[in-house]
Amino acid sequence: MTEYKKPVPLPGPISEPFFEGAKRHELMLMRCLSCGAYRLAERPSCPECWSDDYEWVKGSGRGSIYSYVIMHQQLHPAFADDIPYNVAVVELEEGPRMVSNIVGCGNEELRVGQPVEVVFDAITEDCTIPRFRPRSD
């Protein structure tokens, strides 16, 4: 296996469960124990009700493309062979949005509003990241 040279994310102060979940092929979200709002953010407080109490729960892994772009600029050498590649913002069914890539279709097929579902990509032995693919339902 060739060495993976793209950025490999490390867990932040509170996001270990997200990365552990990804290894199990589960897209984990934070849910406020006070108001029930979902979020995906490196911070303990709920922006809705300011409660610091939350739990990590398994999300549906389903969402839709909120926006997307095609990167033509080479700003990182490890992405050179991928150009042009897509980066999308996926709006999850539970509400939070996350940046990711859309796989399983050509860039010209991307559409805002396209329903997508999560897939998991083990980029290294220790790190798996979620990406999304179109779904037809």
Partner: protein, 377 residues
Amino acid sequence: MGRIYGRDVVYFAKEAVRLAIEDAGLQREDIDGLLINPGTTPLGGFAGLALQGALGLGDLRFVNSMNMGGATAISMVQFAAMAVVHGLANYVVCVFADAPLREGRGGSAAYGGWAPALQPRGLSELYLAYGLFGVNAPYALAARRHMDLYGTTNDHFGAIAVAERQWAAMNPLAQEREPITMEDYHNSRWIVEPLHLYDCCLVSNGGVAVIVTTAERARALRQPPVYILGMGQGHRGVLSRPDWDADTVTGAAISKEIAFRMAGITLNDIDICELYDCYTYTVLVSIEDYGFCEKGEGGPYVADGKLGPGGTLPTNTGGGMLSGYYMWGMTPLSEAVIQARGQGGERQVPKRDVVLVGGNGGILEHHCTLVLSPHPS
């Protein structure tokens, strides 16, 4: 300003301050306030406060280093205005300087060249794992969303790029003065689709400084005064990344409301617009949020050339940051001052009673507004 090499950022800051003092007919000893907006290159310790020493300014009474990106320049003027009105200082110099360009290296390296050194940590930097680098991409995400929601097209963005280049052709200080056509726009390479090269601002080295004082003092100085009729800020608040929220609405609507009320003006009173144009899209969305047209109708609104020379809404009359020079919020602010004074030369807009200045900082996160005029009210 421009592709000027071999000078450091403190030199640009010093030169801008020196020229501003000279232009006003003041002496260095008159300056008793200093507000600093560091760009991407260091201006000394504490994000720029050491500039006071480098400028040899002693016994200042009002100093700060401020940064909310492209909204900072206007914000500095707002704080300076409050300071002079309340007697905290008499003459406050507001300065921005930056030197991200290096000879033989592209502009993209200046703003995105840090990518290979990144080690993303946690959810807030997760986007780096997916290849989202630089500032072009988040603006492109917002532009794409606007296009999808409202049918905005690259022709609409192109109209802004072409109009600004027409203005730049008449600005001796502009970096890019060769006219471009819509065809040139479409033929320019993709940077981050849906943004072409000509949708993106330049990168420049240089500095700009303005001096803020009371109206009474200003009237005694060398240049015709430019009065602040109104000012405001608007910060919509975005969810923290990766909840990417910066999209099709800016803080301009909030910022405008207070500034226009203070100035006692309506949109119909505005003769000239100087809007923050880090991208063509930023101009379009700002025009919508200032209320020149309905939300979503910015594309058709700008498509008829009304922003260009001879148009009904002369906008970014020095070529803006797309074609003129990229001095963050100092680009729209300095051009507004030039136009309000009637010193625009070939590009001077005849009617200049009310000039609107907008600054956008963060990624469509922060917005600041000034309403300027050559008349005190």
